[in-house]
Point group: C2
Chain length 329, copies 2
C-alpha cells in the first residue's frame, strides 16, 4: 500500500480526477472579486497544500450513492469553503504564523483580513447551497457550521486544560473536525436521494474524521516523523491539550506533571521542552495508545460501509480511511 498522501491520492485519483479539476476551476471562478484582497487571501489559504480530503469525500460519496449529475461539484466547493473559513479564523485564534510550512494569512495580511475573508467564504458557501436549492443539504451544512463553531468555542474554553478528560477531547474533535467529514459524505446520499445511505455515510465520515484528527494530533509529537525531516510540535508550541498530552498527563509522575503544568497550562516554554515532551510520550507509549484509539474509529467507519457492495468508489473510500491513520508517525 502506498504510504504517502500524494501516492495514495494518485492511486485513487482516476476515479474523481476530472470532477476534482472542476472543483478547482469552480473555486477559482467563485473567488474572482473586485475587492482584490478577497481572492488574494482566500487563494493563498486554499492553494497552500491542502489535500482536498473533504471535497474528495463528497465526490466519492456521491458516486457511491449512485448520483448522476453535477451538483456534487458545487457542494464539494461549499464544503471546502466552510473548511477554509474555519482555517482562517483558527489561525487568528491560535495566533499561528505557519500552516503546512507556509506563512498563514494572518501572518501575511493581518488578523482583520483573515477574519473578514473567512466571513466572506462562509457566506459564499451558503450562497452556493442556496443556489443548489436543496433544503436538506442546507439543513445538514448549516447544522454543521453551527456545530463547528460550538466546538471551536468549547475548545477555546478548554484549550490549555491538561486535566481535560477523554470525553471532552472527543466532543471537541467531533464538533470541529468529524462533523464536516460526516456532512461531506452524507451529501452523496442526499444528492442520490437514497435515504438508507444517509446514516451509513454520515457515520463513515464521522468516524473517519475522529480517526484522522486523533492521528493528526499524535503525528505532531512523532519522533520518527521528525527524523524524516517533517516539522512537529506545532500543537505543543501553542500549548494545546490534545490527546497525546492528555494521555501523558494521566501517567506522568509528580516531576513530569510539573513539566506539563508549566508548558501547557501556564504556556511557559523553554529551549528543549519539545524534546522532553516527546521523550515523556515515548516513555509511556502514548502515541501507540492514541493510534489504538484511532484504529477503533477506523473499524467503526469500515463497518458502516458494509451496506455498500464492492465498487471502485467504496475501495477508494476505504483506502482513504486506512491512510488516515497509517500516515508515517
Amino acid at each position: 500500500m502506498p504510504s504517502s498522501t500524494a501516492a495514495i491520492l494518485e492511486t485513487i485519483r482516476p476515479l474523481f480526477g476530472d470532477e476534482l479539476d472542476a472543483v478547482e476551476r469552480e473555486i477559482s471562478h467563485l473567488l474572482e472579486n473586485d475587492v482584490a484582497l478577497i481572492p488574494e487571501v482566500a487563494k493563498h489559504v486554499i492553494s497552500s497544500g491542502g489535500k482536498r480530503m473533504r471535497p474528495i469525500l463528497t465526490l466519492l460519496s456521491s458516486r457511491l450513492s449512485g448520483y448522476v449529475g453535477d451538483r456534487q461539484i458545487r457542494l464539494a466547493v461549499c464544503v471546502e469553503f466552510i473548511h477554509t473559513a474555519t482555517l482562517l479564523h483558527d489561525d487568528v485564534v491560535d495566533k499561528s504564523d505557519l500552516r503546512r510550512g507556509a506563512k498563514t494569512a494572518n501572518n501575511l495580511w493581518g488578523n482583520p483580513a483573515s477574519i473578514l475573508v473567512g466571513d466572506f467564504l462562509l457566506s459564499r458557501a451558503f450562497q452556493l447551497m442556496v443556489g443548489d436549492g436543496s433544503l436538506k443539504v442546507l439543513k445538514l451544512l448549516s447544522d454543521t457550521s453551527a456545530i463547528i463553531s460550538e466546538g471551536e468555542v468549547l475548545q477555546l474554553a478548554h484549550e490549555n486544560n491538561i486535566e481535560n478528560d477523554l470525553p471532552t477531547y472527543l466532543k471537541i474533535i467531533s464538533a470541529k473536525t468529524a462533523q464536516l467529514f460526516a456532512a461531506a459524505c452524507q451529501i452523496g446520499a442526499l444528492l442520490a436521494e437514497r435515504t438508507e445511505y444517509e446514516k451509513p455515510l454520515f457515520d463513515f465520515g464521522h468516524n473517519l474524521g475522529l480517526a484522522f484528527q486523533i492521528a493528526d494530533d499524535a503525528l505532531d509529537y512523532s519522533a520518527r516523523r521528525e527524523k524524516l525531516g517533517k516539522s512537529i510540535g506545532g500543537d505543543f508550541r501553542e500549548s494545546k491539550a490534545t490527546l497525546p498530552v492528555i494521555l501523558a498527563w494521566h501517567k506522568s509522575d509528580a516531576e513530569e506533571k510539573k513539566f506539563w503544568i508549566r508548558t501547557i497550562r501556564e504556556k511557559n516554554q523553554w529551549q528543549g521542552d519539545l524534546s522532553r515532551a516527546v521523550a515523556i510520550m515515548e516513555k509511556y507509549q502514548v502515541l501507540k495508545e492514541a493510534i489504538d484509539y484511532a484504529e477503533k474509529y477506523v473499524e467503526k467507519a469500515r463497518k458502516s460501509m458494509e451496506i455498500f457492495t464492492v465498487s471502485p468508489e467504496k475501495e477508494a473510500l476505504l483506502e482513504l480511511l486506512d491512510f488516515s491513520v497509517s500516515r508515517e508517525y
Copy 2:
C-alpha cells in the same frame, strides 16, 4: 416630533411591542447553550443598548405587506444575529474597547471568543432561515451576508485613505449597513408573497440605511452632541476615513491637509486633535453637508413608500426614517 431614540420608539412601540417581546424571548431561548461562553458573550453584545432597528423593520414591513402569521419573529431574530455577528467581528477588526459606552466583548473576553461566537451567531442565523424553509429568504440573506463581508473587506482596504472619494464611501456603507436594512424590510414582502412590494421595501430599507449611516458618521464629530454629554470621536480615534473626514479633506488648506494626513492616514494622534478635527469641520460646515446628503436618501426612501396606502405601519416606518437623520447632532 419626539427627538430622542427612546421617545420615538415608545411612540410607535404599541404597533409591534408584543412581537418585539417575542423576538427578545426567542433570542434568549436560542442562545441557551451547554458551552457557557456562547450565551455569555452573545448576550453581552445583544443586550448592550442596541435599538433593534433591524428587527423592528422586519416586523413593521411584514405587517405593512399584509402578512399574517408568526414567521416574522424568527426572521427578525435572524437579522439581529447577522447584525450581532458583524458587530463582534468589527470590534476585533477595529480593536475597539468600547461600544455604546460599554466594554466590547473582545475587551472583556478577548479576540478568540469574539471571533468564534460571531461565527456561531452567523451559523445560527442560517439554521433559523433553513428552519423557516423559504429559499427566497435564504437567497436574500445569504446574498446580504456575502455583500456585508465584501463591504467589510473593501472598508479594510480603504480604511485610512483620506483621499477616498464619495463613490467608494457610498459603496462601503451600502454594503456594510444599507444592505441589511434593505433585506430586513424586503423580508416582509417575501413573507406576504407580495412581489410588487419587494423592490419598494428593499429600496426603502436601503436608502434608510444609507441615511442612517451617514448621519451616524456625522454625529461622531458633533460638537453639539458633545455638549449634551455624549461621547464623540470614536471614528476619529480609530482613524477612519468616514464622510465628514472625506468632505473636510477636499476643502482643507495645505496646513489642514497635513493634519488629516498625520491623524488619519498615519494614525498618529496627539492631545487636542479631536477638537481640532471638529473645528476644521465646523469651519467648512462639513456636517451640514453630510446631513444634506443623508436627507437626499431620506427623500428617496420616502418616495419608495408611495406604493403603500396610509396605515399605522407606514407612518411608523416613515417616523423611523425621519428619526434616522434628525437625531441630535
